[in-house]
């Protein structure tokens, strides 16, 4: 079949950003960013298996300012991706499909992601200073 210039559906840049599309894009960005977290998980555990002189690299990196900033970003991405993933699975079984409930669950999901990130770091710091 000959290729012709057929009309295309409007692309992302045509639309005004909406909560639904923005949350969906962030979901994918978090997923891509979490790929680097998986690499860190791999590096962390491989160095732990390789010996103390190798594990020192992981410890040096993760306890640096860059390491802490990345851990904070990874933890938020993880909670966001998890909360939105749960939202997706409710849609998969046909629950929460009305426009209204999609907006309500979207706002709740973002709040839950921030809440869980805050809770995990808050408890972590609490355990750190009271151990």
């Amino acid at each position: 079949m000959a290729l012709r210039d057929r009309p295309l559906s409007p692309h992302l840049q045509i639309y005004r950003p909406q909560l639904t599309s923005v949350l969906s894009i962030i979901h994918r960005l978090c997923g891509v960013f979490l790929a680097s977290g998986a690499m860190m998980l791999c590096f962390w555990l491989v160095t732990a298996a390789a010996g103390p002189e190798y594990y020192a690299w992981s410890e040096w990196f993760l306890t640096s300012w860059v390491g802490y900033a990345l851990l904070l970003a990874w933890s938020f991405s993880l909670f966001y991706h998890m909360c939105n993933g749960i939202r997706h699975m409710f849609w998969d079984i046909g629950v929460g499909f009305s426009i209204k409930s999609i907006y309500v669950s979207g706002v709740f999901m973002v709040l839950a992601a921030f809440g869980l990130t805050g809770l995990s770091w808050g408890l972590g710091l609490y355990f750190y200073f009271t151990r």
Partner: protein, 129 residues
Amino acid sequence: MRIQTPLARARHLGSAMEGPEHWWMQRMTSLMLIPLTLWFVASMWWLVVDGGFTYEALRDWLSGPISAVLMLLFVGATFYHLKLGMQVIAEDYIIGKVARWTFIIMITLGCLTGAVATLYAVVAVALGG
């Protein structure tokens, strides 16, 4: 003249009943990763309480059978889910066929390598090697 049948050309190009499997395994790994992620976060608290992320504390914790098995599941499900997700992104956004398949092959082999290396590391620590 083309001897190949249309079916042979369609195979392995996305519409040979492999879509449902991809979709289903993405959901199965998601479902698995919800409790495993919460366990992973709780384990990080435990490590903090147990003396920080030192070499000894980490190995001590990971050599327990429950934490080792859960970590194996977490790592396996994570890399599987990662491969599926990145493949969707490649299929959605990379237009050129060569570039798209190059990316998908790299993602597949990279995730396989990462998974095997990490799983081996967990087993090595758990068995004290």
